[in-house]
Symmetry: C2
Subunit: 310 residues, 2 copies
């Protein structure tokens, strides 16, 4: 592959990707329909890189920053690039229009991964020349400290494009997972939705406070899940492995799930209850500071993982 | 409170509790119906304490070990104790018989927390003199590196007993969460069941491998969940907080949940698929080594949390 990567859309997600790619030694060409976004992105990238230096998560921030440049046009951004990461505003019509523009100027072998967190790429790539080289590459923000990326082909994405995206993500230090086909919400948000649904139900039933339900994960289950997933967790929790665990606890777990049917949308009352509890602890004006705290905790955790290795 | 705490049942869970209590400076009296279990427990405790020393998670292992003694009888274990942690075999009839024995010899002010992970305490304490002082104190094993403990009163547990258990758990460095009433599976296993259900469904539908579904948590969502829970996660992910997040994504998340109805028990085929994938990576003969690896990772993570603080 060439050294050049294009970032299309320079908002929060695009600028976080710029850090991942530049940190891994790629030359990053940044394009946004609004030129001012690119300038802001560079400022944000420089700030975030300073924090990463503090945690020992980037070797030479200055050199990495120097590898990021602003492109004057979409064509300029894509010229000579063999991978582009698209992170424009997540609305089907916005993406559809933007991909038509991409299609006009994209090099013949360019692979384009979209950061879309919910809209499958088939919605906005159908019929385009570049369609066989388009797919989803969905990160959990910010990708420079959370390694997961969901790689999701459309029905018309070629195997070669999937492989290119997969290899590229590995090369820049991400941990790709591969979906065999499109499914609403991909994997991450489906799993998140399943967990949140039960969390809201317990809150609505008055079983515990939102804080205590949160702690059940953060002080409990999450301690394992942050380095082994849910399958491996249960596989290690029965002498005969996963099959043994399922035989012992599967029926009981099924009862818990059945008790939640039929699922109901989160009620306004339970949303207000959870939101109110959040606000008691964290006024909205303090949200930016808390987000910064979260991102620093993620950096410390990323460094911890780097140190303990496998 | 007195310095003395009783551990009733000296299996894996009981011996792990012994470490928590002795590390926090309590004198621990260990009782098990099978005397040999207590000797084995002491050996296991000494081993685990050596590992904790290696991670800087215990100051004086020798002194802590010296605080643990074996009681010759249930009465001896309970004499002068004001808290007992019961961790006998998890079967309703076994617990019921054991609590009858406890009731005969328990001091009048003894509070008894059960490590039961699924059977509510009302099942095995009804009608006993000590019943108002019995409740669930459910850990995620091993409690010396995972702080969560679910405190669950029965309909007849007194508020004073709940408070005693709560305060005690805080004093020994645990993070208690309080359920207002008994519910099947408490919180942790209900949340775990909800997540696993969707994970098995995705595997059964052929969307991804068990390894990639696992990674979606361990390399993705779990990175946040290990220090902020699911509610706080979404509260920080929308400018207007949780309410704003629910307005944006609640309807979409509801669709994912509805798509999974009606829930079906895990099929033999999907269990075999997940189990087979686990065995390809980890033959059962290597399970003990992998469990030891997991516990060391948990120690490293516990130390990391101790260092980064809040």
């Amino acid at each position: 592959m060439s050294d050049k990567v294009a970032i299309l859309g320079a908002g929060l997600v695009g600028s976080a990707w710029a850090i991942v790619f530049a940190r891994a030694g790629r030359n990053v060409s940044l394009f946004d329909g609004e030129a001012a976004q690119c300038e802001q992105a560079l400022t944000r990238v420089a700030e975030n890189m300073r924090e990463l230096v503090g945690f020992g998560l980037i070797d030479d921030a200055e050199a990495a920053l120097a590898r990021i440049s602003i492109a004057g046009s979409l064509a300029e951004a894509l010229e000579g690039a063999d991978y582009a990461q698209e992170s424009v505003f997540e609305r089907a019509d916005v993406k559809t229009e933007f991909y038509k523009e991409i299609d006009k100027v994209a090099p013949a072998d360019l692979v384009i991964g979209s950061s879309s967190s919910g809209i499958p790429a088939s919605v906005f790539t159908e019929g385009l020349t570049c369609a066989p080289r388009c797919l989803i590459a969905h990160p959990i923000n910010p990708p420079y400290v959370i390694p997961l990326v969901e790689v999701v082909p459309t029905p018309w994405t070629g195997d070669a494009a999937v492989q290119t995206c997969w290899d590229f993500m590995l090369e820049v230090g991400m941990e790709p997972v591969r979906l065999t086909r499109e499914v609403d919400g991909f994997i991450a948000n489906r799993l998140q939705a399943a967990l949140l649904w039960e969390a809201f139900r317990l809150l609505e039933a008055g079983i515990a406070t939102a804080e205590d339900i949160d702690k059940t994960i953060s002080e409990g289950l999450g301690r394992r899940w942050t380095f082994i997933g849910p399958f491996q967790t249960i596989d290690l929790n029965a002498p005969g492995g996963l099959e043994d665990y399922a035989a012992r606890l599967g029926a009981g777990f099924f009862e818990f799930v059945k008790q939640g049917e039929p699922a109901e949308p989160w009620s306004d009352a339970v949303i207000a209850k959870a939101h109110g509890e959040m606000r008691d602890k964290l006024p909205l004006k303090d949200q930016p500071a808390r987000q910064a705290w979260r991102d620093k905790r993620l950096m410390a955790l990323a460094k911890h993982f780097q140190e303990v290795g496998e």
